[in-house]
Amino acid sequence: MSIKIKAFGLIAEKMDAREIRVDQTKTTAELKALLHERYPALEKLDFAIAVDRRIVNDNTPLEPGAEVALLPPFSGG
């Protein structure tokens, strides 16, 4: 199984993609580690993580086929 990842704002810019698929990981922490390895620029950035359109806190298990969103804060106005 793979997971769909949707990226927003500066995260999408650093990943150079708004949507990617990665191999299933067990948790959001594992996924984050995988993303940091693949996109080192993400390590310095703050972003919230949503699983199936719910913001999750800390480490969360990922069900097969989950949709994950990476949401950086915006400051412009």
Binding site: G9, L10, R18, L45, D46, I55, N57, L71, P73, G77
Partner: protein, 372 residues
């Protein structure tokens, strides 16, 4: 005919909804890209009291998105122009002009006075200050923010149906470190994006006031105008997030949110030195004393432009982005900033505090300046 007849006729609105609007008091923090459209629609809808807080002045580069202002307003205070424009169009609301920035010292007093806050600011320190002050004072707030072609909007500190109230810190517990997130002054922005997001903020405000429809409480909405994609997410209270909020107003007042004081026209010699060293071509030091006035300053790249000639010859300074005036004690240089503001609306103007008699001035601290 009542100017609100079209909205009074709307279902779940009625005279009751209109009365709620006319009795409501809304604070809009930031009268820029988000604030302008939000203010227009709040005023058009008949919100009774609208407080417009912004210490900034209109500059030419604002005009692509800050639609309450025009060419003739460049150099004027945004809150004053906005209040004037709106009172000319819709004289039936009260407009309170607050021509300064929100600070930990003034936030509680200002926010306490209103029912609802719109966060239309352009920086994280003020966003966290609004969040914390609203949580402490029990006021809901509607937040909008933009990045390039994307916008985000959420309603915080408002319980709705079975959803508990959430704060911005449930989404992002702490402000991001340093300047990692560029703002639209750096990345560019089309005016329609803040136009849409600011309008959505007004829409949320009206829903909350009229108790009509589904506000974005406990939710955050992302919109991308480049791809026309939208994404709505649910936020829930984060364990421990309230511990990052000051425990009371006194603690809020004394907390350092790191808000840059952009109305401050006075800078120290040390700051001046830093700026001049970092980008020599765009910053300039201008001596506004009379020719021959002592002590003489022999710094390279310093222009001499006596205060009496400044209005005639000030155009010479147009090519500089940042202009630092100095005199003997820092008084005439303040006058220079005032006099030049209308003439050089696109430049940042500063007065060097204390003038050449200040202990840190290049005259006094010769060693320090000579090393460079």
């Amino acid at each position: 005919m009542d100017r609100f007849v079209r909205q009074i006729n709307l279902r779940e609105m009625g005279v009751e909804g209109q009365d709620r609007l006319s009795n409501a008091s809304v604070l809009v923090v930031g009268a820029g890209g988000l604030g302008c459209p939000a203010l227009l629609f709040l005023a058009a809808a008949g919100v009774g009291k609208i407080c417009i807080l912004d210490g900034d002045r209109v500059s030419v580069s604002n005009l692509n998105r800050q639609v309450l202002y025009g060419r003739k307003d460049v150099g004027k205070l945004k809150s004053e122009v906005a209040a004037q424009q709106l009172s000319e169009k819709y004289g039936d609301s009260d407009y309170h002009c607050l021509p300064f920035f929100l600070t930990p010292e003034n936030a509680a007093e200002i926010i306490e006075d209103c029912d609802l806050v719109l966060d239309c600011t352009d920086n994280f320190p003020t966003r966290y200050l609004i969040n914390d002050a609203c949580v402490l004072l029990g006021k809901p707030f509607v937040q909008g923010a933009i990045f390039e072609d994307e916008g985000q909007i959420g309603v915080f500190n408002l319980p709705h149906n079975d959803r508990p109230a959430c704060t911005y810190r449930d989404l992002y517990p702490e402000p991001p470190a340093g300047n990692l997130i560029p703002d639209c002054n750096e990345t560019g922005v089309l005016g329609v994006l803040p136009g849409v997001i600011g309008t959505l903020q007004a829409s949320e405000a009206i829903k909350i006031i009229c108790k009509r429809g589904e506000p974005l409480a406990g939710k955050i909405f992302f919109l991308n105008l480049y791809t026309n994609e939208s994404y709505t997410l649910e936020v829930s209270p984060r364990p421990g997030s309230s511990s990052t909020i000051p425990s009371d107003i006194d603690e809020l007042r004394s907390r350092d949110y790191g808000i840059a004081c952009r109305t401050e026209v006075e800078v120290s010699w040390l700051t001046a030195k830093k700026w001049l060293e970092s980008d020599n071509s765009h910053s300039v030091l201008v001596d506004v004393r009379n020719p021959g006035e002592r002590p003489l300053m022999n710094l390279p790249d310093t222009l001499s432009l006596p205060l009496i000639d400044i209005e005639k010859q000030g155009g010479r300074l147009e090519k500089y982005d940042r202009i630092l005036f100095f005199c003997k004690i820092g008084q005439r240089s303040l006058t220079a900033v005032e006099k030049m503001r209308d003439l050089l609306p696109d430049s940042e103007l500063y007065s060097v505090e204390g003038g050449v008699l200040h202990p840190d001035s290049p005259v006094k601290a010769t060693d320090q300046w000579a090393r460079n």
